[in-house]
Symmetry: C2
Subunit: 180 residues, 2 copies
Amino acid sequence: MNLYEKTTNKTSIYEGKIIDLEVHDVELPNGETSSREIVLHNGAVAVCALTPDNKIVLVEQFRKPLDDTMLEIPAGKLEIGEEREEAAMRELEEETGYKAKSLQLITDMYGSPGFTNEKISIYLATELLPGETHLDEDEFIEIHELSINEAQEKLANNEINDAKTIIAIQYLLLNYNHSK
Amino acid sequence: MNLYEKTTNKTSIYEGKIIDLEVHDVELPNGETSSREIVLHNGAVAVCALTPDNKIVLVEQFRKPLDDTMLEIPAGKLEIGEEREEAAMRELEEETGYKAKSLQLITDMYGSPGFTNEKISIYLATELLPGETHLDEDEFIEIHELSINEAQEKLANNEINDAKTIIAIQYLLLNYNHSK
């Protein structure tokens, strides 16, 4: 079956700092029409950084959409023209003060493909070295370092709810022997 | 450190079918001001359904924001006043034709807490029974049933990129002995 939906008309609703909003009229596979609301985002990177003593570095940050703080792996949006790996290295150092000698892609993820094109590339960073923090002027965070066992317990208790962070911790549980 | 950001003014930009958009002026922890773009969503549920022969049920669906199809676990948004477990049972049956005798919460996730409040509750469904599919009129999907090994291989090849689906597959890999 051909599942493609062709855009027949596009309306720009909003152009913002982080996101734009468009509404597309589409032609469905059965020839009928519908509309799709699309939040456009430039893309982001996230970094699962593992310290020499096998702790995962998390940032606690206030998230206005939830009106609460969340525990997340360091992340940020791509700057114009920036490569994803370069952005991952930059965000890690800016938010946590760590540089990484080794960076490898865990996976790319879409958090809400039904309404946004935001793609987050999640990297594993190891062989950490000291660097320098540098936060955006509207960015306030607190750093937490958790053992993999502590992170696993928070997952099991539904206390870590950020998708990229859940994926990163599950990846560590699947790929790192944390009993050592 | 108190990380709270207080809304001092709120502007409604758009009210749509699936999402609304607001822009909040906020007071930052240091007393300065900034603005936050917030995509409001009523919430969603997703179901990791495991067949009696240990296959995971995925749906292939066209996603206009990506202009491509994606492989995802069955999911859908909450209807007004609907309980999350009830919605999970309904979406599973409507999209795949399976009912489940057993449903348990894996985790709640936020895919993009920086700009949206969308919360997705991911359930594990087992003891499946035949039911009846019933798709929304603008919904077109194809069903795929993958062994856990096949799903693991697609994950490793960066071919499954939907966050809730990655979390569900990693959960199975961590909690189910799939060599049996």
